[in-house]
């Protein structure tokens, strides 16, 4: 049986359909989840998609974390449910305390959309197990508040525990501390990533290729084997 992966739609979510497509192309069954619904319909994993939840006017992800769906996500993530936050989803994960640190305004003050070279730093998470550590991939970034910040001690801890899962190569598109593009929680089931793997799943679409598909096949494989 294929795994069912939920994609939460908040008001202002934009990449929800893209995330669903990525799940489908990876071989899973996407399930649309609604922010007002605390019931996660028994999905095997959850994706918080990119976008501008609530317009992101106050602070990216600040309001979305209060959604009933998020209460369930936080609770079930604590019990090991794989959760992937992409871009705005990463911001929501930080706001809701599932991941440390915060995402602030890009250092150059502009929204930036470009194909970005990344190094997968750790294959030790539910969403990156299909890559090998050190592997280079190209995935698009597109964000205005993608600059990852955290206290030095937190950064050191993330590095020390191998919890930085992806790093920007070449130029750092938003000024992130230590070129961090994505991190995971200690257990490895919760991952936040600023670039958009769901936009790199078909060679025909965009210019980045299909390097991002691995995030979705990784989780599907880990769900089948566990």
């Amino acid at each position: 049986m294929t795994a069912r992966i939920g994609v939460v739609t908040f008001p202002g979510s934009l990449d929800d359909r893209d995330a669903q497509r990525a799940v489908r192309l990876a071989g899973g069954e996407p399930v649309a989840l609604w922010h007002r619904d605390a019931d996660l319909q028994g999905v095997d994993a959850v994706i918080l998609p990119g976008g501008f939840s609530y317009g992101d006017y106050l602070r990216a992800g600040a309001i979305a974390r209060f959604a009933p769906a998020m209460t369930s996500v936080v609770e079930q993530a604590g019990r090991g449910l794989p959760v992937l936050g992409i871009c705005n989803g990463f911001q929501v994960l930080c706001e809701s305390g599932l991941l440390p640190g915060a995402l602030t305004r890009n250092a150059h003050l502009h929204f930036v959309n470009r194909d970005q070279r990344l190094r997968i730093e750790s294959a030790d998470s539910a969403w990156t197990s299909g890559y090998t550590a050190g592997q280079e991939v190209v995935v698009p970034v597109k964000n205005g508040e993608g600059c990852y910040v955290a206290a030095t001690a937190v950064l050191d801890e993330l590095e020390g525990e191998g919890r930085v899962i992806a790093r920007y190569l070449g130029s750092n598109p938003n000024g992130s501390a230590r070129d961090i593009a994505g991190i995971r929680n200690a257990a490895g089931n919760v991952v936040g990533i600023m670039p958009h793997p769901e936009h790199a799943v078909e060679n025909l679409i965009g210019t980045a290729g299909s390097d991002g598909l691995g995030f979705f096949t990784s989780v599907l494989r880990s769900l089948v084997t566990t």
Binding site: F52, D56, Y57
Partner: protein, 771 residues
């Protein structure tokens, strides 16, 4: 309730002598007389406000109507489902799908307040598309600015680009193309045109007609404030002595989040078949929506103005009707469906208010706390506005311009440096600085976007059905010859679309001109519309809609006439799209079409000599059609590796762009005729550069000769530099540096570059609308 007594219909009937400030509202004396005749009395203050808006140039098209009729007379083809006149034209693309697309201007607001002006330009055109029943799926932004190094361009351009991005990105619409053009004629009057395209099942097309007595008129979306009430604010000061707070018309501020919710709510309503008619609120706000829906339905309507949710309680009836607050729609709903509509609105957090009903008869009646302030035949506002045949004269300076001597040609030894200067010049340099601020990939169907000739978007994942879109306009060509200029713009957009392998099927346009009261401008306008209509007939691409923007001028100087033409193309399988860049080493480089010495109005003459004179390149639409056929067939039969149309900057520019795309160089041998300078920089129309694998070369060249299309093998892709034999050789890295450095040097570094950021002072108050 309003503090002042309002001017009711009965009061107006009994006080014919009251003097009214019609001329301050932009109405002519005879127009005011016509209003009194229509009503059989003087208009109330509120009615006067409504007529002044609806009979303005912007809403009534009073100067352009007689010319635009030519577009309506064009053969419709068998794809057009809805033509001009509705909010946007609708084209059948097969597989049960239809697309609707349109381009509109937001020039003046974007000069006053670049960020918000451009942002609300996107918001407005997206609502036009939504109104037709379609899900908006992409935007494009043809932009024009003053000189790149003019200080005011530093204020205007970053704000406009941030505004387009801020709104479009937050709506989740990929930006798949546009234009950035610099010319001093746009100093003080930048052009911000915005295009949107939407997709729908054919049976979901919505119309704006309000029908069915007893049906409810529902206002959806944002609260109404004193946004953009413009000229109408004189009514306040003309009637009341004290200048209350916030009488000044205010800039419209966009709320893309509210619009995103409005889109999702409306689409769910359409799918559930809950609305009988729908109309967006754009320019002229409620006035326009109420009159157009009732006029289109040949129905009566009653609106209770005090029910409209307001941002400021002190607003007067005429202000509520004139407000251009963004992110609002007007839906006509049966009483049975009203609860479901309200529930869907609630689901998406959209305000929904029943403000009126469709009535017997044919009067639009607006009440304010039960007092009748408007009682008019809606058609008199929406359809029967004044129509002018404005006087026209050929510009006095045109002969001198056309016969101006061209600057001397450079020697062959100078061409290497010239090439590097040209690819770095503001109009030819890389647009990366602009487009990196736009989300180009959201929705996951963008097949081609910047820097390709046309944007290509997939409509169906199952079949690969897709569309291509390009916009073009060349104000210098149109200045030298508006008839030819309009056709050259059409031909270029057509060629761009065909270069991707798509069959061009329909046209939209945004006609940006100076004042119609200037006979020379009016002549330019008439010539351009005639040229466009003739061109569309020749290419069998019907005009589905468009927009006219007049009064683009500073003091007495008009902008270069700038018809911006958008061409829609169709691909039955986007996997067959042809990219613009060289793909592989060792492929044949073929030049299609014919090069003549055509440098009048060229980028070379302008960039090197600030010279604008001579005649624009000759137009041969039959040649364009054949070239298009060859490009489409070449893509269908899998013969082409790349195709790139020639336009601004000529062959030189296209060689550089094609080589930089994937870092594949070329060795070129130019034809002997005309000499290397003309071969490289002439802007003859009807040409494209293609690459084909050796194995396909013969088949392809035979196809060209069968169709009578000149095709010359001019070289081979090779190495990592651009070499033109006996003329120049430049490593691609040197070209790339020159091509990419210009805009960052002018407007600030790109993301990730080490130099400090430039301050963004035009962003919204929070400065945080970045995502």
């Amino acid at each position: 309730m309003s503090a002042q007594p309002v001017d009711t219909v009965s009061h107006a009937a009994s006080s014919p002598e009251v003097a009214q400030p019609y001329d301050e509202l932009g109405l002519k004396g005879d127009e005011y007389t016509a209003i009194r005749e229509v009503l059989g009395r003087r208009p109330t203050q509120t009615e006067l406000a409504m007529y002044s808006i609806m009979w303005s140039e912007h809403c009534s098209y009073k100067s352009s109507k007689v010319h635009l009729r030519q577009f309506g007379d064009l053969p419709k083809g068998d794809r057009m489902l809805v033509g001009m006149g509705e909010n946007a034209g609708v084209v059948d693309v097969g597989e049960g799908l239809a697309v609707t697309f349109k381009v509109e201007s937001h020039n003046h607001p974007s000069y006053v307040e670049p960020y918000q002006g451009a942002a609300t330009g996107i918001g407005g055109i997206v609502r036009d598309i939504l109104t037709m029943g379609a899900r908006p799926v992409l935007v494009m932004d043809p932009l024009r600015f003053g000189d790149a190094d003019h200080p005011d361009t530093k204020r205007v351009l970053p704000g406009i680009v941030a505004g387009i991005g801020g709104y479009g990105n937050c709506l989740g619409l990929p930006n798949i193309g546009g234009e950035v053009v610099f010319d001093p004629s746009y100093q003080g009057n930048p052009l911000v045109n915005a295009l949107c395209l939407g997709v729908m099942p054919v049976d979901r097309i919505q119309l704006s007609a309000a029908r069915g007595v007893g049906n409810v008129v529902v206002l959806l979306g944002a609260k109404t404030g004193r946004d953009g009430i413009g000229g109408v604010s004189v009514l306040a000061s003309a009637t009341f002595d004290e200048d209350g707070p916030a009488r000044r018309p205010s800039v419209q501020v966009g709320d893309p989040f509210a619009e995103k919710l409005l889109i999702e709510a409306c689409l769910e309503m359409y799918d559930a078949k809950l609305v009988e008619g729908i109309q967006d609120l754009g320019g002229a706000g409620l006035t326009c929506a109420l009159t157009e829906t009732s006029a289109a339905g040949r129905s009566g309507m009653r609106a209770h103005l005090e029910r409209v949710p307001l941002r400021e309680a002190s607003m007067e009836p005429h202000e509520i009707l004139a407000s251009e607050s963004q992110e609002r729609m007007l839906a006509i709903v049966t009483p049975e469906n009203l609860p479901a509509v309200l529930a869907l609105a609630e689901k998406w957090g959209v305000l929904a208010t029943a403000i009126g009903e469709v009535t017997e008869g044919d009067r639009l009646v607006v009440t304010w706390h039960d007092e009748v302030v408007v009682d008019v035949p809606p058609g008199s506002l929406a359809d029967d506005g004044p129509v002018y045949e404005r006087p026209m004269t050929r510009p006095a300076d045109l002969d001198a311009l056309q016969s101006a001597a061209m600057p001397a040609h450079p020697s062959t030894g100078e061409l290497r440096d010239l090439l590097l200067r040209m690819v770095a010049s503001p109009n030819l340099c890389s647009r990366r600085w602009v487009v990196e601020q736009y989300d180009r990939i959201v929705l996951g169907d963008t097949v081609l976007a910047w820097p390709e000739d046309a944007g290509v978007v997939r409509l169906s994942e199952q079949t690969g059905l897709g569309i291509a879109l390009a916009t073009d306009g060349n104000g210098r060509f149109a200045r030298l010859d508006p008839y030819a200029g309009a056709q050259l713009a059409l031909a270029e957009a057509y060629r761009n679309v065909a270069a991707t392998g798509a069959i061009p099927i329909a046209v939209t346009n945004c006609l940006n001109f100076g004042s119609p009261e200037d006979p020379e401008v009016m002549w330019q306008f008439a010539e351009a519309t005639r040229g466009l209509a003739d061109g569309c007939r020749a290419l069998a691409t019907p005009v589905t809609g468009g927009n006219v923007s007049f009064y683009n001028q500073t003091a007495d100087t008009a902008i270069n006439p700038t018809p911006v033409i958008g061409v829609l193309g169709l691909l039955d399988d986007v996997a067959r799209r042809t990219p613009m860049g060289f793909q592989e080493q060792g492929e044949s480089v073929l030049l299609l079409g014919e090069t003549r010495e055509e440098l009048g109005g060229s980028e070379w003459a302008w960039a090197e000599h600030r010279h604008l004179g001579g005649r624009p390149p000759a137009v041969d639409l039959e040649r364009e059609r054949v070239l298009g056929e060859v490009l489409v067939s070449g893509s269908r039969d899998g013969m082409l590796s790349s195709a790139h149309d020639l336009s601004d900057g000529g062959l030189a520019q296209v060689l550089v762009e094609s080589a930089l795309s994937r870092g594949v160089g070329a060795r070129i041998v130019l034809p002997e005729a005309l000499g290397p300078f003309v071969q490289l920089f002439s802007e003859s129309a009807g040409r494209a550069l293609v690459t084909v694998p050796r194995s396909e070369e013969l088949r392809f060249t035979e196809m060209c000769s069968v169709r009578g299309l000149p095709c010359a093998r001019i070289g081979v892709t090779d190495g990592s530099s651009l070499e033109v034999q006996d003329v120049l050789s430049v490593p691609l890295e040197e070209l790339r540096t020159a091509h990419e450095a210009t805009l960052p040097a002018l407007f600030g570094p790109l993301a990730g570059d080490t130099a400090p950021a430039h301050p963004v002072v035009t962003a919204p108050a929070t400065g945080l609308q970045l995502g």
